[in-house]
Structure formats: structure tokens, C-alpha cells
Assembly symmetry: C2
Homo-oligomer: 401 residues x 2
């Protein structure tokens, strides 16, 4: 059975009219001989609207109930799209996450898929139906409706493609993956190919097109992923195994994120207990620490800086308050005008010059950086947001992005 | 376990604010020591809005998909209401129809409940939770989401009460059952009690407060049903077993319906084959015939009149068109300005004078009626809609309704 999984995001299904348009594209695929499984998001701003209703009740709605609420959005899209296929003369059926056999576990609003029983979908495909699956959702062992968190519909699509051992096409509001966000650098180039590893790195470093875990899932099961726009007929980007075609480039992309909170704790009495206490407290509050740097001890004190997401600002404030009770010597600085730039490329594995080239670029252009971290295929820098555009321009120029 | 099932209709859950109000009433019940199961409808006009979206795709949306679409409405209400209970400090959980164990069968959009597995609800009640069930929906043997048709949330509530062997309270936008719709006769009296049989008869004859099948379910399982308004503190109406308290009245209520299409077929060649052919054709198109009358044969021809719902007008037109091909002699008259009046009362079983009193009332007031039918506890008349108000006034007066 030649199956293809296609995922359509919220803006491509925002209205019935838009659904009509994508339905035609799907039908074309079907007529080419594919068995088509469509994964849909909620229409336009529906999810936000539902969350707003919940937030009008309480700032922190019960997550189990929030899942119950949010899951309706994709269910609505799936049934309407299925009606459209039928109206256009193609048999179709819509399935919620649980009907599609998507079993999940974890904490509500952030579940992960643990298993998909695709028998039901398979049977419907064999009957010639276009199967429309409500993305972003599943069911847990207690029979509760769950959702998969940000980018959850992509995860649904890639997981289904993995199970069917078939390609996955992601239709979104951009026409592929760019070496850098075109809003930041208008001459950005759309990539024809990017490796799973690079894409994962880009995603986790702040490039918003796809969440890292969907790409990781694709990587693990070797699902060819094609990311493109549902609006135009331009080509998109293939996310696939790293191969010879990609080898010419050292740097594939530049990922930019303003979602950085930098916290500096000055005058920490120097002891490994104290330092592990600080990060232990943050970990117990589920604060995700990104970069850490520490000055050398001086006079029995050290200064420690770390970065995290701005989402965690309130939690971090709470932890710092507690900390000041225990270590009265400390003095805390908070900086939210920070940008993180990350150059990413598989080629960096064999090429050692990137870091030094970057340092030279920064120094030549009077850009000071605050922290640096490296992975096998990326180097990340935090800089003052005021230097952001200048840094982007010189890096894109230097690496022909 | 002392359980109570309460159902809240669409207008009582139209906004989060209104839900807050009913939540307080529910919590009071809970604090009185009841284990509370709440059944909710979709918020305000949500169902209509969903249907409108489907209708913008096609005049006749696939009913399986329509069920999938509509069921989201109650799911949204249930999760929001559950959040409200939690916010007010009372543990709660929302359940969709399938999670609540409601198994159905039949045609989509008009399924019937065949079984309820209440184990899950029972467990949640034992944990002290207020259980909020999405009304109007269930799941069929194929795992498809189904809905129960008009008044479906009432059916969910009464069926759950039957299963728990407990009372059922229906909160709606009227404060009980009236002897006649107060919009038609402002001095109408609210009934303190009405028997299941009378209520079924009233419902099936056009009184809109509750659908006949919910009352029938209550009758079959002897569920005490209390119908009242969620807005005011007035008393409502108990629907229960006929008993001594109700025996004083011959006539309990007057049901009025304008949803009447009267079709007259003149000059039908008289033969039982022809007549059975006419009603056979209508039955095969699922046209529900209400009253039938026939003139005595004259010159080998008879005239036949029947009434049905205006919903079936298009279907009836189609059948008549076919019929004229087969019986060229016939001549068809259609009348939609017809009102059906039905007096209902258990007392009529032992009292024979009602029909003659009615005929006298009509004759004294120059109201001509077109058709009459009787059941054990009701007599129905069709009249010209122009005589409607006059007829209502004299009947209400004569029987002190």
C-alpha cells in the first residue's frame, strides 16, 4: 500500500474556503494513486480562543480539562474537511486521536505518543477512504483525552508516517526551511535539503518551523519529511538523512531566539554545595537551563550566569528569592534584552575554523558576546539584543546564508 | 450511594458567567450530601453554529461527520464547567459520551442509547468528584461518535438516572411544565405534578419542554424527573407516576402545534390497493403520518386527507408528484395554515364527556375543525390557524387550564 501522510496547519484550515483549496490538492494526490492520511490542526485561532475561555475561569486551568477542551478544535476541522472530500465525490472519514489509535503518556498538555494502532486507519484506506485524523491529540491509559503540546500535529503526522513507513508532508505557512528566518534577513535562502540533525538543532535553538521532537521522531524512524507552504506552488525543503549533496556547506543555518532570560548571581560563596544547590532548586521547579557560565573564584566568591526561557521568569524569580534568604551575600541581576544566535551545520564536525571565524567577526564588528556554548554541529552565542541585527547581517554575509 | 443527576440546557451554560452561577447551585447540592452527576448541553447557540459551518459545505452533510462535529459542543461545556468546580475548590472531572460509557445504535444524528456502563462514573463519584458528562452523545459499536437527536441531553440525563436508580433534575429555560404554553395563554398554570403518560402525550403532541422519548425512558425505569428553571427560585414540575394527587383533574394540559402540513388528495380511484399504495410510498420515504381522514366513496372515488410535519413537505411533494403519474385523476391540495390542538389528561380514561364538551365549544364559537383523533388520554383536533387563539382561549377557560 503506497501511503502518504500530509499535515495541514491552522492557517491552511482557518476557514471552510481554505479547506476547499487544500482538499483539491489532496484529491490530486489521491488520484495519483496514493492512499492519503491527512492530519489537521484546529482552525486558525481556535485553540487560543478555547484557552482564553479557560483562562477566564482561572489562571491555571486543570491540565486534564484543558486537554479535553483543546482537543475539540482538531475534531471540528477533521469532520468539516471530511465532509468536503465527500462533497467533492471522494469517500472520507474523520478520526479523533483515540479513534486513530494514538496512545500517549506523560503529563497533560505535554503528552508523548507511545504507540499507534494503525489497523483502523489501514482498513479505511483499503476501503478507498481519505482518512482525516485530528492532530495534536491522543488518549492515555486511563481513557483521558490528551494533547501533545506545541507542534503536536506535526508529531502526529510524523509518527503516523513512521508507522506506515511512508513520507510525511508538512504544509505550513512558510514555504520551507530557510538558512535564517527571512523576516530577520530578507536575502535568506530557502534550503532544498537539510539533515535531521541540523533541523533538530535549529528547532531546539529557536527556529519555529518545526518542533525538535517531531524532527527527532522522523530521524529515529527515517521518515522523509517535506516542509512546504499550502499557499504557493514553490518547492519546499526536504528533511532527510545527511548525504553527499549537503556536504559542501559548513554552515547550514543561523537560528535566532529572543526568548532568553539571562540571570546573573554575583557573590556566591564558593563551594560545590552552593552551586549544586542553586541548580538543584531550579531543576526541582522544572526550569530548563540553557547556558551556564561561571567566573573563577575570587576572594571566596564566584559569579554565576545562566540563561533560560522567558516563560520561566516568574519561577526563577521565586527561586532567587528563596536563595537570597539562604545566601545573604548574593546580588542578582536579570537581563531580558538578550538574543541567542546559533550557527548550525553538519560540516562543523570536520571543520574546526568556525568558532574562530565567529570570534573574529564579532571582534571586527565590535559585538561583545556574553556566553558561548557548543555542540558537535552548532555554536551558540548570547549577545545584547541591540547588536542583534548587525550580528545577523555579518554572519549571513560571511557564511553565505 | 445517594446520587442525583442534573441536566443543564444550552441557555443555562451559554457563557462562563452563567456556568459560574449554576456551579454554585450544584455545589450546594453536593454539600447536602449528594453525589452529583451533571449532564450539559452545548453552550448557547454552539450547535447551530457548527451546523451552519457544515451547511456552508453542503446542504446534506454526511451524518457520521455531523455527529463528530456536533459532539464537540458538549465536550467544550463539560471541560469548562469541570474547571469551574475545581476553581471553586470541588474536585471534578468531565467525560465525553464515550468516556461515560454511553453506547448507542441507530442512524447517525438520531442514535438511541442501548447501554450505559457506569463503572467509571461510579468510581469518580466514590473519589468525591463532581462528574460532568457531555450530553447528547455516545459511541456506537464501530467506535464512531454518535449523537442522540433533539432533546438528546435530556435523554442522557434520564438514562443515567435510570442506571443509578436516582432522581433526575432538568434545568431548562422555563420553570416547569404548564397546562398550556404561557406564550399562548398568559394565565396558564404551572403544574406541580404531571404523570409520565400525560407528559409523553404532551411532548409528542408538540409541547417542547421535553422530548417524549426522555419521558418514556423515565416512565419505563420509574425515574422521578423534576423540571425547573436554572434562573429563578420558583418551584418546578415533577414528572412521576400517576397518583391520587392528580386525580381531580380530567384535563391536565393543552398542547398546541403549528408544525402541521395537511395534504388532501381528492378523487382517488377507490380501492384498498390505491390507498395502501399512497401510505406505503410515504412510509418508504420515512414520512411520519399523524392524522388520516377519508370521505365515503362516491362515484368510485374517495378524498383522503392526512397531516404530517412541515419538515417533510419536500418529501411529500416528491411522493405526490410520483403519485399523479400513476393516478392521473387525482387533485392535490396542500394546507400549511393549520394548527393542531390536543387536550391531554389521565382523567379522560374514566370520563367520556370530554369529546362532546369539545365539540360543543367549537360549535358555540363557530370554530370548524378539520380532523379529529383520539388516544386513551388525549383528543386532538386540527383547525385553521386563524381560529387558533380563539380556540385556545375557550378551551383554557372551559377546562380551567
Amino acid at each position: 500500500m503506497q501511503v502518504i501522510v500530509q499535515k495541514y496547519g491552522g492557517s491552511s484550515v482557518a476557514t471552510v474556503e481554505k479547506m476547499q483549496t487544500i482538499a483539491d490538492a489532496v484529491i490530486k494526490r489521491k488520484e495519483e494513486g496514493y492512499n492519503v492520511v491527512i492530519v489537521v490542526s484546529a482552525m486558525g485561532k481556535t485553540t487560543n480562543h478555547l484557552i482564553d475561555m479557560a483562562k477566564s475561569i482561572t489562571e491555571k486551568p486543570c491540565k486534564r480539562e484543558l486537554d479535553m477542551l483543546m482537543a475539540t478544535g482538531e475534531q471540528v476541522t477533521s469532520s468539516l474537511l471530511s465532509m468536503i472530500f465527500k462533497e467533492k465525490g471522494h469517500d472520507s472519514i474523520s478520526l479523533t486521536g483515540f479513534q486513530a489509535g494514538i496512545k500517549t503518556e506523560g503529563i497533560h498538555t505535554k503528552n508523548i505518543i507511545i504507540e499507534i494502532d494503525i489497523e483502523k486507519i489501514k482498513n479505511y484506506l483499503e476501503e478507498g477512504k481519505i482518512v482525516v485524523v485530528a492532530g495534536f491529540q491522543g488518549i492515555n491509559e486511563f481513557g483521558d483525552i490528551t494533547t501533545l503540546g506545541r507542534g503536536g500535529s506535526d508529531t502526529t503526522a510524523v509518527a503516523l508516517a513512521a508507522k506506515f513507513n511512508c513520507p510525511c508532508e508538512i504544509f505550513t505557512d512558510v514555504d520551507g526551511i530557510y538558512s535564517i528566518d527571512p523576516r530577520l534577513f530578507p536575502n535568506a535562502k530557502r534550503l532544498d535539503f537539510i539533515s535531521y540533525e541540523e533541523m533538530m538543532e535549529m528547532s531546539s535553538l529557536g527556529t519555529k518551523v518545526m518542533e525538535a521532537r517531531s524532527v527527532e521522531l522522523g530521524f529515529r524512524y527515517q521518515v522523509p519529511i517535506y516542509v512546504t507552504s499550502s499557499n504557493i506552488k514553490d518547492k519546499g525543503t526536504y528533511i532527510k538523512e545527511y548525504d553527499i549533496e549537503m556536504e559542501q556547506k559548513v554552515i547550514t543555518g543561523l537560528s535566532v531566539s529572543d526568548d532568553v532570560l539571562m540571570e546573573t548571581i554575583n557573590q556566591v560563596p564558593y563551594s560545590s554545595e552552593n552551586i549544586s544547590d542553586i541548580f538543584g532548586r531550579l531543576a526541582s521547579q522544572e526550569v530548563n537551563i540553557d547556558m551556564i557560565s561561571q567566573t573563577s573564584p575570587s576572594g571566596g566568591y564566584v559569579n554565576i550566569s545562566f540563561t533560560t526561557s522567558k516563560d520561566d521568569e516568574e519561577t526563577v524569580d521565586g527561586v532567587m528569592k528563596e536563595l537570597m534568604k539562604k545566601m545573604p551575600s548574593i546580588d542578582i541581576e536579570k537581563d531580558t534584552n538578550i538574543t541567542k544566535l546559533s550557527v548550525v551545520g553538519m560540516g562543523m564536525r570536520n571543520e574546526t575554523g568556525v568558532a574562530s571565524k565567529m570570534f573574529r567577526l564579532f571582534s571586527d564588528n565590535c559585538i561583545s558576546f556574553k556566553q558561548v556554548t557548543t555542540s558537535e554541529i552548532s555554536i551558540s552565542y548570547t549577545i545584547n539584543s541591540s547588536d542583534k541585527q548587525k550580528a545577523i547581517d555579518v554572519i549571513c554575509e560571511a557564511f553565505s546564508l
